[in-house]
């Protein structure tokens, strides 16, 4: 029965891995409905789920917790896939939207919007996506720069430098507007709480575009992993594929950032875990990223509710604490492989 566990990752049947991941995800969602920072105990929440709760309890479980579970689901989904795509394009296991300055680009755009008069409650998704796109393009420049000697660290260094630049620019514009500075300090830590489903709806159209982009380029992307020449030989156009993927990543990351604020390292951890489970083929890892991203985000969110009651720990802090060791693990264990 468990024989597939013994096989090497690339030989494991994707279907079984995927089904077990989905089961874990379902469990996470259930736990997310049961635990919270409030006074509602897990037992009482379970009773409420079964239909015997008071109006207050029902509001907490069916409105607050289910909404943030949904948002967590969405954020995990988008960031996980964005990470996998980015790593495939850059052929670099360290490529991660947060590390490469894509999230920082998004934050910068959001800060601009706040200074222009928006408020964090009414933030438009397009702005964050535009900022993410700008960050992506800068990083794409760096990715092209790597040329023949494919050096994963170079990209990370470029991203870190870009991030620090964008963060400084953000502080510059916030210097002149205290209201924006006051609002953004809550936003930059990243959180899935208190967002209503309307924001989710406003992101959906752009997500459909992103999905279309991915469907269009998934196969060529896999051939790109074999090298540029192979891809050209198979009749694909590497430049166009990269462009399409970059747009998809920007849409995904921008959407997630607009909803939850910058949440670092998800895009690093999820593909890493997926590769460990089913091997490096992008067509397989991409499928597995779908359940893995939400699993990680929702688990982190549950922890964030429980560690600082009655307040909550920001999700972004938690993912950074979880994600940084994974970064080290990648660097140490594989001696910086190329994809």
């Amino acid at each position: 029965m468990l024989s597939w566990f013994i096989k090497t990752p690339a030989q494991r049947p994707l279907f079984y891995v995927l089904v077990s991941a989905l089961l874990v995800l379902a469990l996470c969602c259930l736990l997310s409905l049961l635990f919270g920072a409030g006074g509602l105990t897990p037992q009482a929440s379970l009773q409420t789920l079964l239909g015997n709760g008071t109006a207050d309890d029902e509001f907490t479980v069916f409105h607050l917790r289910s909404t943030r579970t949904l948002i967590g689901l969405f954020v995990g989904l988008t960031l996980g896939i964005a990470g996998a795509l980015m790593q495939a394009v850059a052929r670099n296991p360290l490529a991660e939207p947060g590390l490469l300055g894509v999230s920082a680009g998004s934050s910068f755009a959001v800060a601009m919007a706040l200074v222009m008069g928006a408020s964090t409650a009414t933030l438009t998704v397009g702005i964050a996506q535009l900022g993410a796109l700008i960050g992506c393009i800068c990083v794409l420049g760096a990715a092209r720069m790597q040329g023949q000697h494919n050096d994963p660290i170079r990209l990370v260094l470029a991203g870190a430098a870009l991030s620090s630049l964008l963060l400084a620019m953000t502080s510059l514009i916030l210097l002149f507007d205290q209201r924006a500075a006051d609002e953004i300090r809550f936003w930059v830590t990243g959180s899935v709480a208190g967002r209503d489903t309307n924001t989710l709806m406003s992101v959906l159209p752009s997500m459909l575009v992103a999905v279309a982009c991915i469907l269009y380029s998934a196969k060529p992307l896999a051939s790109l992993a074999l090298g540029e020449r192979v891809a050209i030989g198979l009749g694909h156009k590497p430049r166009r594929i990269r462009g399409v993927i970059i747009v998809a990543v920007a849409l995904l990351v921008g959407g997630a950032t607009a909803i939850a604020g910058p949440v670092a390292f998800i895009g690093l951890v999820v593909p890493f875990a997926a590769r460990a489970l089913v091997g490096p083929d992008i067509r397989r890892t991409l499928w597995l990223c779908l359940p893995l991203g939400p699993i990680i985000v929702i688990t982190a969110d549950i922890i964030s509710r429980l560690v600082a009651q009655p307040a909550e720990m920001p999700l972004g802090v938690l993912t950074a604490i979880v994600g940084a060791p994974v970064l080290l693990l990648i660097v140490r264990s594989r001696r910086l492989p190329t994809l």
Binding site: G38, H63, L64, S119, D196
Partner: protein
């Protein structure tokens, strides 16, 4: 490029004497965070580096030469603006411009309790600098500060009169509330609304002090722990804890109504009893969460009076 220190100090001493020229009046000593400071009894050129210092100085009839800009603005706070027209700005709440302060040639600098030691060591060479001992987050901390500033300005008696006046006004309002509002309906919370949840203000900041002095019972949901002087973002699940009889919603933009509307789009906010009963009062965050001092106290009491007149039957 080495300096001849002794000569320099002599010259500086002359400078200090020169600024207080003519009035060889008596001095008095003020106890501050960085030791005892000797201040001339009759100061003329005052620079204030905190909002409470500015407020206290104006309340005592002084007109400071320069002050720092209030949060979220490029000048002093609105409620005080017309009383200090033409005042110079020598920094923001984040960073002072030491040169601009020196250029004012002040004979007294009133700073906030959080002024850093490094800044103090430079400012104290410009003029006697008053950095009050931080009273910490305790009730009526603002009164302690106002008294320190009054002491520095040699107007202790006058300040006591002003404070007694405020106390009298507050107790008048308290009587009014006592007759209009049953005792069980006087709990109140001061908060700011963030999409992630409300930021509940401590029960021990200036404006909540004022609310308490007119008879409201401040409910900060127990989120402000002992000795942790912060305003904490509360989990939405715990909103019922701040569902008091009254909610004072502070906004940083002057458009209070916008902030209220934005908050109301959140179902967890609009389902609070206090919102349903229309007992939410939007107040100016500049005044309610940033300012402190006798004039600010009167301004807040004005706000409360309006609430009593319009919102309480």
């Amino acid at each position: 490029m080495t300096f001849n220190r002794p000569i320099f100090k002599k010259i500086l001493l002359c400078a200090c004497l020169a600024t207080s020229l003519g009035t060889f009046a008596a001095e008095h000593t003020v106890n501050t965070k960085y030791g005892n400071v000797k201040v001339n009894d009759d100061v003329k050129r005052i620079v204030t580096l905190s909002e409470d210092a500015l407020d206290s100085a104006i309340a005592l009839g002084f007109k400071p030469l320069a002050a720092v800009a209030t949060r979220g603005g490029d000048s002093v706070a609105e409620y005080i603006q017309e009383r200090v027209e033409g005042i110079s700005i020598v920094g923001t709440s984040r960073q002072n411009n030491l040169e601009a302060i020196a250029a004012q040639r002040p004979d007294l600098i009133l700073a906030s309790a959080s002024l850093s030691k490094d800044q103090y060591s430079i400012l104290s060479k410009i003029a006697p600098t008053i950095v009050p001992n931080s009273p910490g987050m305790v009730a009526d901390a603002w009164i302690t500060l106002a008294q320190v500033y009054a002491d520095a300005l040699n107007k202790t008696e006058e300040m006591n009169v002003i404070l007694a006046d405020i106390e009298k006004r507050a107790s008048n309002l308290k009587d009014k509330i006592a007759t209009k509002l049953p005792e069980a309906e006087r709990s109140a919370t001061l908060a700011r609304w963030m999409p992630q949840g409300p930021v509940v203000m401590s029960s021990q900041i200036f404006s909540t002090d004022m609310l308490a002095s007119v008879g409201f019972e401040i409910n900060d949901a127990g989120v402000i722990k002992e000795g942790r002087p912060h305003s904490s973002p509360l989990s939405l699940e715990n909103l019922s804890k701040v569902d008091s009889d009254w909610l004072f919603l502070a906004t940083l933009n002057t458009e209070g109504k916008d902030a209220l509307d934005a908050a109301k789009t959140s179902p967890s906010f609009s389902r609070l009893n206090v919102v349903k009963n229309d007992h939410v009062v939007t107040v100016n965050g500049q005044l309610w969460t940033s300012a402190a001092g006798p004039l600010a106290a009167h301004a807040i009491l004005d706000n409360i009076q309006t609430v009593i007149d319009t919102k309480i039957k």
